[in-house]
Symmetry: C2
Subunit: 204 residues, 2 copies
């Protein structure tokens, strides 16, 4: 469990990894710096050389999730047809959330710790949003009016994706007595509804 004998090469990086593991084991509300230190076989104050507080370390963990998330979205299959591309991105968004529920909750579920070093966290978060903006730009064009519609549609689609995965992962879900067919087809149905709404919008 502990690496008591191996020296830590890069403690700063190791702290992020260990903190991530502790959260995975005990939940974010039970993350403790002393647990992190113990896991790394180092004194309880050692992490403070690299992070000013527990929240600063937590921010680093979340920032790392955002980088992974953005590169996951970037790594999707790309299509010439913007509508197809949008669908691919939606699928990738859902896939990430399903494969990494913990990381998704860290990014979008918990409130970010208010530390100064959030700047990179924010940059990575906005980058993800811009990926969505770019796809929509290919559908709407680049006129002045288009820019507004891009952001409105981006918010609509993001709301949908985010709401969908949040609810499907939430405690509430299991108490709703949904028949299996409904449960399995919710993502597809939401996708279809978005498509219908977007199509009617672009045809105008």
């Amino acid at each position: 469990m502990q690496n008591i004998n191996l020296p830590i090469i890069d403690l700063k990086q190791a702290c992020v990894k260990a903190a991530h593991e502790v959260i995975a084991e005990k939940g974010i509300e039970h993350l403790s710096l002393r647990d992190v230190a113990r896991k790394l076989g180092v004194s309880h104050q050692a992490p403070y050389r690299h992070y000013a507080s527990k929240d600063h370390l937590l921010a680093a963990v979340i920032a790392r999730c955002f980088r992974d998330f953005a590169s996951f979205l970037d790594a999707r299959q790309h299509f010439e047809d913007p509508e197809e591309d949008l669908a691919a991105m939606g699928g990738q968004y859902i896939a990430y959330a399903m494969q990494h529920p913990l990381e998704y909750r860290l990014m979008f579920g918990s409130t970010w710790p208010d530390t100064a070093s959030n700047s990179e966290l924010i940059r990575d978060a906005v980058h993800s949003f811009n990926i969505l903006r770019n796809v929509l730009a290919r559908m709407h064009g680049n006129s002045e009016a288009a820019l507004i519609n891009i952001d409105l549609d981006a918010m609509f689609i993001w709301s949908n994706m985010h709401g969908l995965v949040t609810i499907m992962q939430s405690d509430a879900m299991q108490y709703l007595d949904l028949v299996p067919h409904v449960k399995n087809n919710v993502p597809k149905h939401v996708f279809d509804m978005i498509c219908v709404a977007m199509k009617s919008r672009l045809s105008k």
Copy 2:
């Protein structure tokens, strides 16, 4: 700040109220039973007579939010036309989330504490969902197939509403550099898109 001299009539109820206030002041992650006790001018162990643990008290606070939320939805303006009624409910949902961001986060943002006494919490949560189901039932009818469509649409609409308010309240929102016109029109746009999707669905 403290009611040192006034005796507490109903400590159990007072604990819920005080805990709610502490959360409002310091955030859910800084809720402390000892703070609650101090606020009520009782010993740090007094709350344990009524709640087995901190999580049990927290569950009671969240349950209370769900009751308020459900009665807020019920208290909306009702319409004969189911489509109009659905719109009214959407508006009411958003209104609650905007007026009570903290309570909304408690219900849907944080993971519920896993205590046995969640049963009433769950009942109230499901009740809210059933309000939505009932409105949709008036649009879809009561056939076997309709029941499935009701739940699929309910999930779609709920995803949308939930995603919308979550994102608008999230930290991410302020860093996206949205022009004011976009910011102000996001709820209306999302509403319109839902309407379009639902109309095309019902006409089939």
